[in-house]
């Protein structure tokens, strides 16, 4: 059974930014004109002042909860305690979007704090579909599932990632969070075509877009792109973003910046660039 869908398209398409703790006071004091804010759910699952701060922010801006620790790809299933705490946070913050990743982090009760890659097989698909269904039922919300940034692929994968995501959408009823920077990084690292990847996603399922910076490291004569969210968005990722908007429509889009966190003003500049990109695609593009 699919829980009642929270239709992201009912939200006015607008540009949001990832809200990180060092920017909190400035956001509250200056209330920048930004459409919405997204936070990492795991930073607010404990006690202390953090959830109270989130209440304050939630009174000023629509919130999106972005999970990084549910481990939808774990063969051993989902952690009930984590789901329970997430459900409590959702009830408290009433986010307009709830998202997670196509990846895994937990095996043998160890949480490996990274978005680890799955082999794209029928077995993995069954497991992820089951986990997404369980999460959606437990949380009472439709999840948006994000394509990961990948640095390797498995020999025994039998389907391309966008096809896997398409089947996941069809069988679980989840939506997609399309991270265009992740598409760019993955396609560079695994020698795939980013435009073709974008074309292969089920457009109607995309309820949010992420845009972020990456870095390049050299390994011998080969370069790897690292999805480190630590720099401005790269020009080819802006191009891919424009293609994504053309294909998916004006879905809520988020600028993420996590490492080497810049002053808030620079992050807001990136959001302004995203607005400008929207405007070139569609003259009716939103103002935040």
């Amino acid at each position: 059974m699919i829980p009642k869908a929270q239709d992201a398209r009912a939200i006015p398409a607008a540009i949001g930014i990832g809200m990180r703790t060092p920017h909190f006071d400035e956001i509250i004091a200056t209330r920048p004109a930004i459409g919405w804010l997204e936070v990492h759910a795991e930073n607010y699952l404990g006690g202390g002042p953090a959830p109270v701060r989130l209440d304050t922010i939630g009174q000023e801006y629509p919130l999106s909860l972005h999970g990084v620790g549910l481990s939808l790809g774990s063969a051993e299933g989902l952690a009930d305690d984590h789901l329970r705490r997430l459900r409590t946070l959702i009830a408290r913050t009433e986010p307009f979007l709830v998202s997670e990743h196509l990846s895994w982090s937990i095996t043998g009760d160890a949480y490996l704090n990274d978005l680890l890659p799955l082999p794209y097989t029928e077995e993995s698909l069954d497991i992820v579909v089951g986990n997404v269904a369980k999460a959606q039922a437990a949380l009472g919300r439709r999840l948006l599932v994000e394509n990961p940034a990948s640095y390797l692929c498995y020999r025994h994968s039998t389907m391309p990632e966008p096809d896997f995501l398409g089947e996941l959408v069809r069988r679980s009823g989840c939506g997609l969070l399309c991270d265009v920077n992740n598409i760019f990084v993955t396609c560079n690292n695994l020698d795939l075509n980013a435009e073709a990847y974008l074309e292969a996603l089920p457009a109607a399922a995309v309820g949010e877009i992420h845009i972020a910076g990456h870095s390049r490291v050299m390994r011998g004569s080969q370069s790897l792109l690292i999805d480190d969210h630590g720099s401005p968005v790269a020009p080819p990722v802006w191009d891919l973003y424009r293609r994504a908007i053309e294909r998916f429509g004006l879905v809520p889009s988020l600028v993420e910046w996590d490492n080497n966190l810049p002053p808030l003003a620079q992050l807001l500049d990136e959001a302004q660039k995203a607005r400008a990109a929207l405007a070139t695609v569609d003259s009716d593009a939103c103002a935040a």
């Binding site: 202390g48 002042p49 095996t107 949480y111 490996l112 680890l116 082999p119 077995e123 690292n189 390994r219």
Partner: protein, 267 residues
């Protein structure tokens, strides 16, 4: 073909034990070696978890320097990876790990400083709870008083050390805070950590108060907690110690043990 749970177990072994053969055999070898590709994930895992530990144990990190801290954190992460995704709750076993970690054996106070920082982290992330007033005890009839148990606010924690860890912590809490010299022979300290609003409070207690409050926190009855203290400190005065607990906002519930086990008076 390995089942997914076997793939994930192999990945874990590759990251945490360095046994990469099984996993690397699963990885397509276009261009870069599987080991190089795996290395990106390994780096993400250790860098992020080390950063989480550094955030929870900043004074420990200053005491040993960044490089040694990263080395100790790496060894700790391999042996005790987190069990949940809430990283603010990761590191409770780090103090005991440091106590047994041979390369830092000469820093005899290090594990106790880590225990103090862990209590500060627990206090910072403890759930909100409303303290109750001493007036609550007005409902208790005299003969029930020895069977009272008091529930401490979840932000409260206690650590005793043979070393002046409060001064050591203060001298290492920021780069700037430098107390010239700390005399390790100055003696031990009994500390209480708690939170008021968003502020973490560290207080030095006398040994009797420390013993009493620790016993109360363990769930001992008032009679038992008092007995424990009186063994070491015959001058202990419950009539002052008990109201002080309430005045400090330390009590969030009282109940009666044994015959009315768990029956709550007021929360």
């Amino acid at each position: 073909m390995l089942a997914l749970h076997e793939v994930q177990a192999a990945f874990r072994r590759a990251i945490l034990t360095g046994d990469t053969d099984t996993f690397c055999a699963l990885v397509a070898t276009d261009g870069l070696a599987p080991e190089e590709r795996l290395g990106v994930y390994r780096n993400n895992v250790f860098a992020s978890l080390t950063a989480a530990l550094r955030e929870t144990f900043p004074a420990v990190c200053r005491l040993v320097d960044e490089r040694f801290f990263a080395y100790a954190a790496h060894e700790f992460i391999c042996r005790h990876p987190p069990e949940s995704a809430v990283l603010a709750e990761y590191g409770g076993r780090f103090p005991d790990f440091l106590a047994g970690f041979a390369p830092c054996r000469e820093l005899v106070y290090l594990a106790d400083v880590a225990r103090l920082e862990w209590l500060m982290n627990v206090a910072a992330n403890a759930a909100h709870a409303n303290p109750i007033a001493a007036m609550t005890l007005a409902d208790v009839v005299a003969e029930d008083a020895p069977r009272l148990t008091l529930q401490l606010h979840p932000s409260f924690g206690f650590v005793a050390s043979r070393w002046p860890i409060d001064r050591i912590w203060r001298a290492n809490r920021t780069e700037a805070a430098a107390e010239a010299t700390i005399d390790l022979a100055a003696g031990g300290v009994w500390l209480e950590v708690s939170r008021a609003d968003a502020n973490i409070i560290m207080r030095v207690l006398d040994s009797a108060t420390f013993t009493f409050r620790s016993a109360v926190q363990r769930g001992e009855t008032l009679a038992r907690a008092t007995e424990v203290v009186l063994v070491a400190d015959p001058a202990f005065d419950l009539c002052r110690a008990l109201p002080a607990l309430f005045l400090d906002g330390a009590i969030i519930a009282v109940s009666l043990a044994q015959s009315h086990a768990g029956s709550e008076i007021r929360q």
